[in-house]
């Protein structure tokens, strides 16, 4: 019984410390919601395959704080995006804008797909031409007949 009580108390303690840590999130749910929306579109510069929303890097923490301040200052999402891009370049965005530098990035895969399609069609057409039925001439027919009748060959 004593042990159960101790366990119960320990769990209570754990639960209360948890609630403590989560407090900043609940501070202003509207701001946090917008922050997450924006931060998910942004790359963490330190851990490049993580979004700014998901990263625990120090810089990500600072940048989230910065975005929070901007939201509270009444900036629009586009203005906040501009704030980030002017400092870290287009690389910071997970969906970079379409411009001559990023054409390769945006259209490259489609160009490859179309190229592969063209090659595929050509190969298939070539095969069809090769596979056209061929008619044997008289000599070939005779040879085939003699091969078929050869008693030496296993049937």
């Amino acid at each position: 019984m004593k042990y159960w009580l101790a366990l119960f108390l320990a769990l209570q303690l754990a639960a209360s410390s948890w609630a403590d840590e989560a407090a900043p999130l609940a501070e202003d749910p509207v701001v946090e919601q917008r922050l997450i929306g924006i931060a998910e579109e942004l790359r963490c510069l330190v851990c490049q395959n993580e979004s700014l929303a998901g990263s625990r890097a120090d810089l990500a923490l600072d940048l989230r704080r910065e975005i929070r301040t901007l939201i509270k200052a009444g900036k629009t999402d586009a203005e906040i995006m501009e704030f980030m891009v002017s400092r870290y370049g287009d690389f910071v965005r997970y969906r970079p804008p379409v411009n001559p530098v990023t054409w390769m990035l945006w259209f490259g895969p489609f160009a490859l797909l179309i190229g592969a399609g063209v090659i595929l069609v050509r190969l298939v057409r070539g095969n069809q031409r090769d596979a056209a039925p061929k008619v044997l001439d008289a000599a070939q027919r005779e040879k085939a007949q003699s091969l078929l009748k050869d008693p030496e060959l296993p049937s």
């Binding site: 330190v46 600072d62 910065e66 400092r87 870290y88 370049g89």
Partner: protein, 174 residues
């Protein structure tokens, strides 16, 4: 015969792309600041917290802004090179002690030497964010008009100093 060479050609193109990819450092993100005015800031000096330094004070001079921190390992690698370079008195070097405790920063400079004309503190990293700093050390070369001309991401190496930074400084100082 010609057809058989197509996969080989594609493979060769792939190898070239991969080879180029391998020699590039994905952490070197092209800075959008090159050719743009250096963001204004004003911050307390590391050694005299009562006084402030502002980027505007350097107008008319070519100068280096070097971000560092006592907790930064790569800064130690760069430090001897900066110490040597400071001796040549080529240009003012301003240090930005990024996200550091002032006491730790001062101790670090006392221990390893101080190549900076002065250092300013950036306790919460706000100035760093304005300069698009995402990893210390980073170094900015700023011209007489206050425009950023070059950014070194990571430690300043002897090669970078000799081949890129110094020639550019000479040109800008003309």
């Amino acid at each position: 015969m010609k057809k058989a060479l197509i996969p080989l050609a594609i493979f060769a193109v792939l190898v070239v792309f991969l080879a180029i990819g391998l020699t590039r450092d994905p952490h070197e993100i092209p800075s959008p600041f090159i050719g743009k005015p250096a963001p204004a800031f004003s911050a307390p000096l590391l050694h005299e917290p009562g006084r402030t330094f502002s980027a505007k004070d350097m107008l008319g001079k070519v100068w280096l802004l070097n971000t560092w921190a006592s907790w930064c390992v790569a800064c130690r690698q760069e430090h001897p090179i900066l110490m040597e370079f400071a001796k040549t008195k080529t240009l003012p070097i301003i240090g930005l002690d990024y996200k550091d405790q002032e006491a730790d920063g001062r101790k670090w400079l006392a221990r390893f030497g101080d190549p900076y004309d002065l250092s300013v503190t950036d306790r919460d990293g706000r100035i760093g964010i304005d300069y698009g700093v995402y990893g210390v050390p980073e170094t900015f070369l700023i011209d007489k008009a206050g425009v950023i001309r070059y950014k070194q991401i990571g430690p300043v190496t002897e090669e970078a100093l000799r081949d890129k930074i110094l020639p550019l400084i000479r040109e800008l100082q003309k």
